[in-house]
């Protein structure tokens, strides 16, 4: 026995039953959600007589749900670590208020307001992270307090009512698009094609690295099937959007966030620590994870993303109101759980949370097109959340011993 990295043994079993196959088992849950999204899309496509996937509607779908998706990305990290954040809706309101005031009253340029919003979000996150991580108050309580506190502050800041007339470049963050080049829009198609190429190249590079290091590689069938599904999805959305108003700016921001945060959770020490703490907090502590600091940064990060969501939703609305962001926290939490995260923590992915958010978004959109009453929309969303988590629980029970 040595403590240096030992030479890999040539165990034939290891080579033939690769880890990827077992990974696939875990991924099945994510695929389940993806399948659910597809079913819902197809269902509403039929029910709305094809109107759901009108280019304009796809554009709307993305712009209207951007805030949930941004919040869900932060929330999935919070939930994987075993916490919850109830304050993000109120943070969106207070950040929106500050952004609007800074531009209208203080004359800050639009980019200054964006930076300020994100900084304010980070400070709010640090405030909540301090209480959770270093004082040891459960996140449920800290963020419930935050929900009241920041909603109150938003009301204080916006005593004058609505602030509107925000600068055009700011508003473009929420509802703007890149300029169009023809019909269909060649820029949109070009970006989609580039994204597809990058996906294929990255996957091939990873596979080549595994081959080189003599690691088990995924079976070609499932490897290529996944790539083809991803490419088809990207190109189809690109195709739809190319007949709309051009590539939404917010889509680029979202794509960047998904890529960056997937990387953080899957590849970095920080991400691993988050999963380790959610899986077994004590074991993580006894393995030398600085759990307090990890908790702190999780909330700072949530604050930053809530700040960004504040920018996006204010920009989309074109004005700041104190009631902005109401129940956003519940949408984000629902998206995360629909996306397969575990209530006890330790399980969840960024992609799952985004798909969960899209499930809710498509439901909203489809039901709205069908002119279903808003009250019923809410009731249906509640049932979908319950069904998604019930499906997850039941499938786990059947699969496990």
């Amino acid at each position: 026995m040595t403590t240096t990295t030992p030479v890999q043994a040539k165990d034939p079993n290891a080579a033939q039953t690769p880890r990827r196959r077992l990974r696939l088992g875990v991924d099945l849950r994510a695929y389940g959600i993806l399948a659910a999204l597809l079913v819902i899309v197809v269902l509403f496509q039929i029910l709305t007589g094809g109107r759901l996937l009108f280019p304009g509607n796809v554009n709307n779908l993305i712009q209207q749900n951007a805030y949930v998706l941004i919040l869900a990305i932060g929330m999935v990290i919070v939930i994987v670590a075993g916490h919850i954040d109830l304050s993000v809706g109120s943070v969106v309101a207070v950040v929106g208020a500050i952004a609007a005031i800074s531009m209208i009253d203080w004359g800050l340029p639009w980019w200054g307001a964006v930076i300020l919003s994100i900084v304010v979000g980070a400070i709010i996150g640090a405030w909540q992270g301090f209480w959770v991580a270093f004082v040891g108050i459960p996140a449920f309580i800290v963020t419930l307090a935050g929900m009241l506190l920041f909603r109150g502050l938003a009301l204080v800041l916006l005593t004058g009512g609505t602030i509107s007339g925000l600068p055009a470049p700011f508003v473009a963050i929420g509802s703007g698009a890149l300029p169009k080049a023809g019909e269909p829009d060649l820029i949109t198609l070009g970006v989609a094609a580039a994204a597809s190429v990058v996906v294929v190249l990255l996957q091939l590079r990873e596979r080549a690295a595994q081959r080189r290091l003599d690691l088990p590689v995924e079976k070609p069938v499932s490897f290529w099937a996944k790539i083809i599904i991803a490419v088809v999805a990207i190109m189809y959305v690109g195709y739809l959007l190319s007949y709309s108003r051009g590539l939404p700016i917010i889509l680029l921001i979202l794509a960047a966030l998904v890529v960056v945060y997937t990387f953080i959770l899957n590849r970095t020490v920080f991400g691993r620590h988050v999963y380790a703490m959610g899986g077994n907090l004590f074991a993580a502590m006894m393995s030398g994870v600085k759990t307090k600091w990890v908790n702190f940064w999780i909330f700072v990060n949530m604050g930053v993303l809530a700040g960004l969501a504040g920018v996006v939703s204010t920009a989309r609305a074109g004005s700041a109101v104190a009631s902005a962001g109401t129940s956003f926290e519940l949408d984000a939490i629902a998206a995360v759980f629909i996306g397969g995260a575990a209530v006890q923590g330790g399980v969840g992915t960024v992609v799952g949370a985004v798909i969960g958010g899209l499930v809710m978004g498509v439901l909203n959109q489809g039901l709205s097109i069908l002119a279903v009453d808003a009250a019923w929309q809410q009731a249906i969303k509640g049932l979908v959340l319950l069904a998604a988590v019930a499906f997850d629980v039941l499938s786990k029970r059947r699969g496990g011993r």
Binding site: P18, L22, L213, V269, R272, N280, A342, R401
Partner: protein
Amino acid sequence: MSDDDVILRMRDITKDFSGVKALDGVSIEVRRGEVHAICGENGAGKSTLMKVLSGVYPHGTFGGTIEFDGHEAAYRSINDSEHDGIVIIHQELALSPYLSIAENIYLGNEIQKNGVIDWNKTNREAALLMERVGLNENPATKIHDIGVGKQQLVEIAKALSKEVKLLILDEPTAALNDEDSEHLLGLIDNLRKQGITAIIISHKLKEIRRIADTVTIIRDGKTIETFSMKGPDATEGRIIRSMVGRPLDNLFPPREPRIGEEKFRVEGWTVHHPVHPERKVIDNASFTVRAGEIVGFAGLMGAGRTELAMSIFGRSYGTDISGRLYKDGKEITARTVDEAIRNGLAYATEDRKRYGLNLIGDITVNVSAAALAKLAKRGVIDRNREYKVADSYRTQMNIKAPTVAAITGKLSGGNQQKVVLSKWIYSGPDVLILDEPTRGIDVGAKYEIYGIINALAAEGKAVIVISSELPELLGLADRIYTISEGRITGEVPREEATQEKLMHYMTAGKD
């Protein structure tokens, strides 16, 4: 044997989990009024067999037949089997900590009228049951406030309240000290006299010798043999041979100690209780460990063994800690777990499920958990290398799992322990503190773990082994410290160590 004598007959039980046969034609007959021991290595199928019997796996999900008390049994749930008088007491006790003893005894089976509990009767009946199991406590005491040995008795009282015919005890003494174990075994003996049949699953051969009438040995999901413990050839050696399928002449692998310079020294270590800071949990403890040396720590439960280890390892236990640590003659500090690891300390916990493993994580993430820094560049983990590291440990530590993507929570205790050891060995420590490294582990895996411990010492590491099994310390350690009531009460070199001598120091109270 006539048919009335047999209370339970399980025939050709097979059970598979997605193609993997956990039970492959197990048959067992238990006679009325006997204590029947089931032995087998971890993963042999003992627990699965008991789950089949008690209806955790409902009738129809396994093959074979079960006859209980003269009729064919087809249990669909635990309630069905309990209705017939079969009660299982699991290794992990299932009591509600903030309810009283009496409430726990009658939990789910309350003495009531129209949904209103009759507290007087509950407490009176509970007191009678408690007397029967020799539990001298107030029925209103909370479970939380009594020790694990007494909690075990509460479980048995609870079983008696249900008019149990067949009592199944899964590793009943795993978490108990010698005194509590002895009491429990005495109680099982008593219950046998009252006509209650018991099945006891145990790794402790002495215990089986002491209590069992008959023993059945299971290996790889098959019944190997059943024999009476009364016969002249019913030896521990025979049990071990049948369990592991090979003769185990010696429980400990051979080793030639090559002991070097002093590696680690603790001086004047004092620790106060985290909740009651006026109480000293560790009182001025000093000890040394040399390179290549295996040092044992013996102490009764509650003596402060784990507290000593955890307080040294990054102050994970206690408040107001004072004392000095030296490695290779130089003073070091270990104020946080992270600092302790960086200074070359490792602590493998006695409670691997709570403190040792991310049970929902796979083998890979557990093996790398304490040494991610080695695998990461600028905060980004090289996952391919991580996989290779984990896979090499799987091979060299003989962790029985198809791949390192196996979830640790589904491994057997012995394999989980190997994952914990892999984690700490990979962290590259100079000083390893192993707290109960073989708790709840079968004989075969124990032997392997002893081999790992020996190899670590042979590499020149300082190894500290904390164990409540004295024979283990005697077989393993070069030197043994005894600890009692937070103080180090003795230091015995291997040559002079006997169980009696150690026990003498371990029970040396404050004057």
